[in-house]
C-alpha cells in the first residue's frame, strides 16, 4: 500500500467526468494520490489532453455529452494497447460492459465510486504497468526514469540515484518541457530551507551521473526537462 502511494506520486492520470460535483470530489482524491491529474469535463477535453500529454492511467466516466468515455477509450486503444483504462459509470448494461471488455478496460467501477474500489482499480493498474515495464518514463533518447525503483535506466545500465536526486528528477520528468521553480523543488523535497546552492549541487550531480544535457537551467527561475515528445513510445 505504501509502495502504491509512492509509485502513484510519480504518475499522471487523465480523469474525465461531466458531472461537476462528482468531478470536483474525485479530483480532490486523485490529487492526493497522483503526481499530476489532468481533469477533463468531457470526452473532447480528454482527447485533447491525450494528444498533448503523456498519461499513465486513464479514469473515464462512460456517459458524457458529445464524445463519451467509450469513444475516448477506443481512441486511446487505437494508439496504445497498454495504458490501463478504468471506467466508472452508473450504467452497467450488457452492451456497455461487453464493449469495455473488448477494449481491454481493466476495471469497471459502478457509481457512486467507493474509495476502496478506486484504490483496488489503481492497484491493478500499477500492477499492469509494472508487468509491462511501463513504470518507466522516458526523458531522453536513451534514458528512462524507473518510477518503481527510483533509478535511471540507460540502455542496459542502471544508474542509482540518491533520494534527493530521485525526487528532483521525478518532478522534472513528470512535467517535461515545463518550467519547475525552485519553490516547487523545495516543496517536492519537503525542505523549505533548502538553499539555492544545495539545489544547484543536486542538479549538478544529476547531470554528471546521467551524462545528459536535457536538464536546462533558466537563470533565477528554475529548471526544466527539455525533451522531444515521443507520443507512442515509452
Amino acid at each position: 500500500m505504501q509502495q502504491l502511494i509512492e509509485i502513484l506520486r510519480n504518475l499522471t492520470v487523465l480523469y474525465a467526468e461531466d458531472d461537476d460535483a462528482i468531478r470536483a470530489n474525485t479530483t480532490k482524491t486523485l490529487q492526493m494520490l497522483f503526481g499530476r491529474v489532468l481533469v477533463a469535463k468531457d470526452g473532447m477535453e480528454a482527447l485533447a489532453y491525450y494528444v498533448e500529454e503523456k498519461i499513465h492511467i486513464a479514469l473515464l466516466d462512460y456517459v458524457m455529452p458529445c464524445v463519451d468515455g467509450y469513444e475516448v477509450a477506443r481512441e486511446i486503444r487505437a494508439h496504445d494497447h497498454h495504458v490501463p483504462i478504468i471506467i466508472c459509470s452508473g450504467y452497467t448494461d450488457q452492451e456497455k460492459l461487453l464493449g469495455a471488455i473488448r477494449l481491454g478496460v481493466i476495471e469497471y467501477i459502478e457509481k457512486p465510486m467507493a474509495y476502496e474500489a478506486l484504490i483496488g482499480a489503481l492497484t491493478g493498474a500499477v500492477q499492469k504497468l509494472r508487468n509491462q515495464q511501463l513504470l518507466h518514463v522516458k526523458f531522453d533518447s536513451h534514458l528512462a526514469y524507473d518510477v518503481a525503483n527510483q533509478c535511471v535506466l540507460g540502455g542496459a545500465n542502471k544508474i542509482d540515484l540518491t533520494c534527493q536526486e530521485a525526487q528532483v528528477l521525478g518532478v522534472l520528468v513528470r512535467h517535461q518541457n515545463h518550467l519547475i521553480t525552485k519553490e516547487q523543488l523545495q516543496e517536492a523535497l519537503h525542505d523549505s530551507n533548502l538553499s539555492d546552492n544545495a539545489l544547484r549541487n543536486i542538479v549538478y550531480r544529476l547531470r554528471k551521473k546521467l551524462k545528459t544535457e536535457c536538464i536546462v537551467t533558466v537563470k533565477d527561475m528554475g529548471y526544466f526537462m527539455a525533451s522531444k515528445r515521443e507520443r507512442h513510445g515509452y
Binding site: 494497447h81 452497467t92 450488457q94 460492459l97 461487453l98 469495455a100 471488455i101 473488448r102 481491454g104 478496460v105 481493466i106 476495471e107 469497471y108 459502478e110 491493478g124 499492469k128 508487468n131 509491462q132 515495464q133 540502455g155 542496459a156 545500465n157 542502471k158
Partner: protein
C-alpha cells in the same frame, strides 16, 4: 467465409467446456483450421493442460464444475500475463462481466457461439500474439525467427536451432518487455541444475545465429530481447 489455414499452422488452442455436445461441436470447428486443439471438460483440467502444453490461445466457458472459467483464467494470468484468453457463456449478467474485466480478455462471447464471431475473435488473438512477438519476428540483424515453426533464417535460407536455443529464444520473446534474469533462465531451461557458464554460452551461440544486437545484456541483471513483429 474463407479461412487462411496456414495462419493457424503450429498454433496450439486450449478449449474448456463442460457441456459434451457443445464441446464436441466447437472442437470440430476449431480443428477445421487448427491442428493442435486441446479440449477439456472443466477449469481444473484446463489449468493442468495449460501448464503442460503451453498453448497460444485459451478459450474458457464461464460456468463449469470443479473450477469455473474465471478462476482458471486467473490462474493462467498469474503464469502468463499476456496470453490471449477469451470466454464463452450463456450468462452475461453484470456481476460476471464486471468480474472478468481485470483479466484483460480478448472478448466475452455469448452462447450459442456463432462461427463468424468465433473466427473473428481467433483472428484478434493472432493479432495479439503477433504484437506480443510470439509469431514471426525480425532481429536488428535482419534474421527472422518464426515462433510457431521454430525456424530461423535470413532471406529465405533457413537454419536450425537446438532445443535449448529455441527454449531460450521463446522465453526471452515471451518476456520481451523486461529483463530476464540469469536465475530465471536457469530455472526455466534446466530446472536450476546447471553449471556457471552454461547460460552465458547458450546466449553466445544464440547471438551468433540471431545477430549480436538481438540479445542485450543488462549488466548484473540479465538479458533482454530486441526484436520487432514482422
Amino acid at each position: 467465409m474463407d479461412i487462411d489455414h496456414t495462419l493457424f499452422e503450429g498454433v496450439r488452442i486450449l478449449y474448456a467446456e463442460d457441456d459434451p455436445v457443445t464441446r464436441e461441436n466447437i472442437t470440430k470447428t476449431l480443428r477445421l483450421f487448427c491442428s493442435h486443439v486441446f479440449s477439456v471438460e472443466d477449469g481444473q483440467a484446463a489449468v493442468e493442460v495449460f501448464e503442460k502444453e503451453e498453448p497460444h490461445i485459451v478459450i474458457l466457458d464461464y460456468v463449469m464444475p470443479r473450477m469455473n472459467g474465471l478462476n482458471a483464467a486467473k490462474a493462467m494470468r498469474a503464469l502468463a500475463p499476456e496470453i490471449p484468453i477469451f470466454m464463452t457463456s450463456s450468462y452475461t449478467d453484470k456481476e460476471k462481466l464486471i468480474g472478468v474485466m481485470h483479466l484483460g480478455l480478448v472478448d466475452y462471447l455469448e452462447k450459442p457461439l456463432e462461427l463468424f464471431s468465433l473466427v473473428k475473435t481467433l483472428a484478434k488473438c493472432l493479432e495479439r500474439l503477433h504484437e506480443g512477438l510470439r509469431l514471426r519476428v525480425i532481429f536488428p540483424s535482419g534474421v527472422v525467427y518464426d515462433g510457431l515453426r521454430k525456424e530461423i533464417g535470413i532471406k529465405g535460407v533457413y537454419a536450425t536451432l537446438t532445443k535449448k536455443e529455441t527454449q531460450l529464444l521463446d522465453f526471452l520473446l515471451a518476456n520481451h518487455q523486461r529483463v530476464v534474469t540469469q536465475g530465471e533462465i536457469e530455472q526455466k531451461l534446466y530446472e536450476g541444475n546447471v553449471e556457471a557458464n552454461t547460460v552465458r554460452n547458450l546466449v553466445y551461440r544464440l547471438r551468433q545465429k540471431c545477430g549480436q544486437e538481438a540479445i542485450e545484456t543488462a549488466k548484473g541483471r540479465g538479458y533482454s530481447i530486441c526484436a520487432m513483429p514482422c
